[in-house]
């Protein structure tokens, strides 16, 4: 399925973005040129400098995001959570059950009885 998605999803992405598909294509082409350029060329130096700058910026940003995401996940999983709706989706126990499930084998006389 992953191979299938890798093969076909870019067409779907292009269908969504239309002419703005040049944004991911441009970024990818730039990366490709930099990655495959000889290490003495101007393009390699320019690309690697920009990537070093970007990665420094992104690392700083990513660390902040990581802290925020971790704290959000901890909040979601904590017992005194603020996002009750999400939490209830994660921990469904079907507390309203008042009859046995159909999958449970029961004696015929007790079938349909409310406990």
């Amino acid at each position: 399925m992953t191979v299938f998605q890798v093969a076909f999803q870019p067409f779907g992405i292009a269908n969504c973005m239309r002419w703005r598909a040049y944004i991911p294509i441009g970024c990818t082409l730039f990366l490709r040129i930099v990655l495959l350029a000889q290490k003495t060329t101007y393009m390699y130096l320019l690309g690697s400098a920009s990537f070093v700058f970007l990665s420094l910026f992104c690392l700083r940003f990513a660390s902040w995001c990581f802290v925020l995401l971790t704290s959000l996940f901890l909040l979601l999983l904590s017992p005194n959570r603020p996002f009750t709706k999400t939490h209830s989706l994660l921990h469904h126990r079907r507390g309203w059950f008042n009859a046995l499930s159909l999958r449970v084998r029961v004696h015929s006389s007790r079938h349909g009885q409310i406990r």
Binding site: T2, F4, Q5, V6, F8, Q9, P10, F11, G12, I13, N15, C16, M17, R20, I23, P24, I25, C27, T28, L31, R32, L35, L36, F61, A62, C65, F66, L68, L69, L72, F83, K85, T86
Partner: protein
């Protein structure tokens, strides 16, 4: 980029920012009752000539198969080419289909509606959707098809990035090493995930903002001040789908090679 997307996914699940998403749930643009609802009178007579399309304010011409709203042809999404749409398309409205199959007061109508809802499909690879009204189109597009496609892209981008650590530079494919190819693929999927997610959020915001007579304006977060802040407004409108504006037809255009002879004839008739 993927971290930003993950952050946005979590925010969209909260009560505060999730309103952008949940304001579409009840299909507030409806101008007709759903077929599932029990009505006292057997027949509902409506003066169609007096009714206006909620998306264009023009006289109504047809009915949405999903929400039964009456719309003008410019307030209707006319679908995508069959060749793209039929390839691995999936049912979208499972819950409504279940409701239709359980409709006991009008079983024949329920059966017809069930068939219609089963025929309403989405393609999560090529980003196509079956015909419906503009509201149902943006509801499904922004918060089902497009949203799931961003998830898929995020997973693919992450997988490709992880694989760069697995494969060395010594594996050559075509003209480049596998590691470089995977790195480029990761870049493509990550950038497109971020862009698509921004585009979906902005499209929803613009749709809500442009249709204030039925959409809830409180669903737009306060910091997105479209009324007073010109810079925010221009950015949001740049990212959003141009057809989300009031009165614009949302149907996408394709190269003619994608359309069959029958479809081309249908398009000509519609014009």
């Amino acid at each position: 980029m993927l971290l930003v997307c993950a952050f946005a996914y979590i925010l969209l699940d909260t009560d505060k920012y999730g309103k952008i998403r949940s304001s579409f749930d009840k299909r507030p643009w409806r101008n007709m009752k759903s077929l599932f609802q029990r009505t006292e009178e057997e027949e509902v007579f409506v003066n169609f000539n007096a009714m206006k399309c909620p998306f264009t304010n023009n006289p109504v011409r047809g009915t949405c198969p999903i929400c039964c709203s009456l719309t003008h042809k410019d307030g209707y999404y006319h679908g995508d080419p069959h060749v793209l749409h039929e390839f691995s398309s999936q049912i979208v409205e499972h819950e409504m289909a279940k409701e239709a199959s359980a409709m006991d007061h009008k079983p024949v109508l329920g059966r017809i509606q069930l068939d219609t809802l089963i025929a309403y499909r989405a393609n999560y690879l090529f980003a196509t959707l079956s015909p419906s009204c503009k509201g149902c189109y943006y509801k499904t597009w922004c918060w089902n098809v497009g949203y799931r496609m961003t998830w898929q892209s995020a997973i693919l981008g992450f997988n490709c990035m992880m694989c760069t650590y697995l494969f060395g530079e010594d594996i050559q494919i075509f003209y480049a090493d596998l590691r470089a190819i995977l790195f480029c693929m990761s870049m493509f999927f990550s950038v497109s995930t971020l862009y698509m997610l921004l585009a979906l959020i902005c499209t929803s915001v613009v749709f809500i903002y442009e249709h204030p007579h039925f959409m809830d304006l409180d669903a737009i977060p306060k910091f997105i001040d479209l009324k007073n802040n010109e810079r925010v407004r221009s950015w949001v409108y740049w990212f959003a789908d141009e057809s989300a504006r009031f009165g614009v037809n949302p149907t996408k255009s394709y190269w003619t090679v994608f359309y069959s002879k029958k479809e081309k004839e249908e398009q000509r008739r519609r014009r």
